[in-house]
């Protein structure tokens, strides 16, 4: 895909996130919007997957550790063709396959269950170990939030992956600087997070998480690194694309109300008034 096509796909995914959250009446807004570009790049450019064969043994694995941002994962999977886009509107409703936090056994394309923070990197490490044992070339990608670095388990996994030089593992940190109760550096300072990873024998890249050239270059770079796992610290804007949500930690854990959703969708459709949408 061209950068322009990826940007458009990311924009569609953001619109679906708003619609899903509105329909659900609960859920997280800021994280999914902030990670829309990275998930778009992963599912449309990076991951070696086949939506028609979701359990193909040699597929790349994407492990979402910060389960609460699953609306962006669901939307990316649907747009990639794993299941109908219409099903996105069942998010969090009774009988859905799109649970409030992801479950590996129901929806095609979901590799793991997560929600309680700090568990995903360990799961990804296990998958990467299995690939190495079997001498397979598939790669494992773990998507972490910055806030879940408060959890000790995250660092247990960081230590273990560094010790074992898991170069077939790439972690992405959604460095959006917010968590439920406020800014990460107020709640529990994480900096210097890059140095922390380096000291545990990881290769560290830092990128603008909304620049597709940057995102794709970083993932390709990670594939070329030997003897170390790579962490991509992606600086993202929570609520990205919706003016009144951006950088406001109050939007971490709540959905838009109907009037707010209308405003948000209009802003996304018109790229903040830069273009005229047929809806308007």
């Amino acid at each position: 895909m061209t950068t322009k096509q990826l940007e458009l796909k990311g924009n569609q995914i953001r619109q679906d996130i708003i619609k899903m959250l509105l329909a659900a009446g609960s859920g997280h807004s800021a994280g999914p919007l902030g990670m829309a570009d990275i998930f778009t790049a992963l599912y449309f450019e990076i991951l070696n997957v086949d939506p028609k064969k979701p359990t193909w043994p040699d597929r790349d694995r994407l492990v979402l550790s910060a389960g609460h941002i699953c609306p962006v994962l669901y939307a990316a999977l649907a747009h990639r063709g794993y299941f109908p886009v219409e099903e996105l509107m069942t998010l969090r409703q009774f009988g859905t396959r799109l649970h409030g936090h992801p479950h590996n056994l129901e929806l095609p394309g979901i590799e793991n269950s997560s929600g309680p923070l700090g568990q995903g990197l360990s799961q990804a490490v296990g998958m990467a170990l299995a690939a190495r044992l079997d001498q397979k070339r598939w790669r494992t990608y773990a998507v972490l939030s910055d806030g879940e670095h408060d959890e000790g388990q995250t660092w247990e996994a960081v230590m273990f992956a560094g010790k074992n030089q898991l170069h077939n593992l790439t972690a992405v940190i959604d460095r959006n600087n917010i968590q439920i109760d406020g800014f990460t550096e107020t709640i529990m300072p994480l900096e210097p997070i890059a140095d922390k990873y380096r000291s545990f024998n990881w290769h560290v890249l830092e990128i603008d998480g909304h620049n597709f050239e940057d995102i794709i270059a970083a993932f390709r770079h990670a594939k070329a690194v030997f003897e170390k796992p790579t962490v991509i610290i992606a600086h993202t804007i929570p609520g990205k694309g919706v003016d009144f949500m951006e950088n406001d930690w109050h939007w971490h854990g709540k959905p838009p109300k109907p009037d707010e959703a209308t405003k948000a969708l209009k802003e996304l459709r018109t790229l903040r008034g830069k273009i005229t949408s047929e809806h308007e």
Partner: protein
């Protein structure tokens, strides 16, 4: 099926059940290349060492990090491996319960959790290291089976059996040498209780090293009370049929386990009886308290897990049965 073991236990060999686990794990490693082992810095005392030496590429030293160990095992399992994770039961499933709940059980990851040094008989290490709650916290988790083998021979069979079972499993055993009361050809089937001695007045349902003590109690009462002894090695799924039959046929039940009195084997048996066949019942277990340091045998007696405690429980339950 009734399998009767004669009560001639004078010359039982004494072996730690963990030895049977270690042997079973090596045998599995030889047969199945997908079996891998993870251990949290306790490779010798959990008896994973032989596997680690035989299959170094399939052994992972996790350090003292039980939460990560459970998660890494889940990832390995989701990619097709059969991981055994080993530590002391207080740490795994104790410390990493949330990881076991979500990464393993909710995901139906095919992980085998091995809790060593369970029970008060851990002895000198004291209360922090004596797992007395592990059966309760595992038994409540959906998709997880719970096995408490009685001796080293059964521990080996159970290890091999849980590897053949597709899904999460927990197996626990103590630290000390215990009498080997089963033989290589003694039947073992997950979820199927083993009747060791038949009897008509009362049934003792026990597991772990309490099975041997139950047999001693039955012998002590021989000629006065006809005691049935059931080895309930699988706490979940529990053999409800064996419990209901015993309740109907003997009219009185005693449970015996090296675990807290709430939530363990006694709780599981009480649930079956309450649902299907209300029957007078007494529970021999740790009485809602922490342990302390001391020699295993002294602790077993002090915390009311002795043969005499089982005999007293039988006398109490028979009085209740006769009064009813």
């Amino acid at each position: 099926m009734k399998y009767l073991v004669p009560l001639n236990h004078d010359n039982f060999e004494e072996v730690p059940p963990r030895d049977g686990f270690g042997q079973g794990l090596v045998e599995l490693g030889q047969k199945n290349p997908d079996v891998v082992a993870l251990c949290g810095d306790l490779v010798e005392s959990t008896r994973v060492l032989a596997f680690a030496e035989a299959f170094p590429e399939r052994y992972f030293e996790m350090g003292v990090a039980e939460q990560n160990m459970a998660g890494v095992a889940a990832g390995l399992a989701l990619a097709g491996k059969i991981p055994f994770i080993s530590s002391y039961a207080v740490f795994s499933p104790g410390r990493n319960w949330d990881q076991i709940r979500v990464s393993i059980c909710y995901s139906q990851a095919n992980v085998k959790i091995v809790g060593a040094h369970a029970g008060i008989s851990v002895g000198p290490d004291g209360a922090t290291h004596q797992a007395l709650e592990d059966v309760a916290i595992t038994r409540v988790l959906p998709n997880l089976i719970v096995v408490v083998p009685t001796d080293s021979v059964e521990a080996k069979k159970a290890t091999i059996a849980i590897a053949g079972y597709k899904g999460p499993a927990y197996i626990r055993f103590g630290r000390e040498k215990t009498p080997v009361i089963t033989k290589a050809d003694t039947p073992f089937e997950l979820g199927k209780a083993l009747t060791l001695t038949n009897g008509s007045d009362v049934t003792i349902i026990a597991n772990g090293q309490m099975v041997y003590r139950a047999m001693m109690a039955a012998e002590e009462l021989a000629g006065k009370v006809s005691v049935r002894v059931i080895n309930m090695h699988t706490v979940k799924p529990i053999d409800a049929r064996a419990i209901i039959d015993a309740a109907k046929e003997t009219g009185a039940i005693v449970t015996a386990e090296e675990h807290q009195i709430t939530g363990g084997l006694g709780g599981a048996v009480a649930e079956v009886l309450a649902d299907h066949q209300p029957t007078p019942m007494e529970r021999v277990a740790i009485l809602d308290t922490f342990g302390e340091s001391g020699p295993p045998e002294v602790l077993m007696d002090h915390y009311h897990l002795g043969v005499a405690d089982i005999v007293h429980a039988i006398e109490r339950v028979i009085r209740r049965k006769n009064a009813g």
